[in-house]
Symmetry: C2
Subunit: 220 residues, 2 copies
């Protein structure tokens, strides 16, 4: 099965389906192409799902947030978490409603969150998270001071228990529906791109947009 919809190979387009991938490079690619994750954990016995920034270094995923956020404090206590990063790549239109689907890549990580307390690792983790969300900013913007570092909680989750599911290609219609020829079938791809930078109004006049913002590509 190929990763992309082919318009010339009927076999390719029909065989696509959701499946788990064991290839680590697919996992890394899905994580590295994302901007935010959804962090799942229990708070007072109830499941919570929170969007948050993250970054990957080797087989460690780093998450960060305010030390004032209850969710981060809970997660820092070594509780079990699930982190999911999803890319929605397109809508799959089939001849039947039943076979309508979506193309996506979804990485899911299970593990116990560990609070990063070592100063060196914490700074490195913040750099990794910054490079994911705003590459170039680590070199451009003011570094965090002691007070800011103390107000920032960083969590680490090991990628030992991680998998990625990928669905791509066209619809898997039933033969009767294909032969009936009544409905359109195919994929409507969903794309993301960066809009024009919107400078803060309190910038000095003529402050140029730096290349790491103005020339940013998606994904990074």
């Amino acid at each position: 099965m190929t990763r992309h919809l082919s318009t010339t190979d009927r076999t390719t387009i029909r065989r696509s389906s959701a499946r788990a991938r064991s290839d680590r490079s697919d996992l890394y690619a899905s994580l590295d192409a994302g901007l935010i994750c959804h962090l799942g954990l229990l708070i007072d016995g109830s499941p919570r799902v929170l969007p948050t920034g993250y970054g990957r270094r080797g087989d460690t995923l780093y998450l960060h947030g305010s030390t004032g956020a209850r969710s981060l404090r809970e997660a820092a206590g070594g509780v079990e978490v699930c982190v999911t990063v999803t890319h929605l790549d397109g809508i799959v239109y089939a001849r039947s409603l039943f076979h309508h689907s979506v193309n996506y890549r979804s990485a899911m990580i299970h593990g116990q969150a560990r609070e990063v307390v070592d100063a060196d690792e914490k700074l490195q983790a913040l750099r990794v998270i910054t490079d994911q969300l705003a590459p170039g900013s680590w070199e451009h913007a003011r570094q965090p001071n002691k007070r800011e570092l103390a107000a920032t909680a960083v969590l680490a989750v090991d990628l030992a228990e991680a998998a990625v599911k990928i669905r791509d290609g066209g619809p898997n219609d039933d033969t009767e529906d294909i032969e009936a020829g009544k409905a359109w079938a195919g994929v409507l791809p969903l794309r993301m791109h960066w809009g024009a930078p919107e400078p803060s109004t309190d910038l000095p006049a003529g402050f140029a947009v730096p290349p790491h913002v103005g020339e940013r590509t998606y994904p990074a």
Copy 2:
């Protein structure tokens, strides 16, 4: 606080911050503009976060999936779930790394999932879910038959416990950093759009792309 970054109103751009909204119209708007949600629930005592399709009708959120999926079977048992729909609207570049942020809208719903068993409600729910993910397909594609309906599980979650958090506007830099004038600050908006439809190769030659696909706008 306004909802959009203003390039003419310094007050507006500085005051923006993440906050919970109690306005139901903000909640509905965030849910209605989404394509997938992240469903959080416990499986064997461990949190799971799964991307899935959904739709809203009044104050009910409907989710669906295969009856073969363990997560859906678990959720159908009346367990507690958390459903989160997140829109990432842009990256907020600040003069300091600490004040870097993202603009987003995130709706979060807590509740007990209820399996939809009534045939009429189930069909209505499937229509709602279809209209969210692929508007126009309900009228265009083949309706589900009995076998397909039996293989599809539909869950309902009440919107009684639901909230939306929205962060918009520019960075909230410290005065010293603004006065230092060393770094750029502003917002890089993230946009989504539909690519060109990719027809399935097994369509008859000349089968036109129907308007509900070819003229689809984002959000719907």
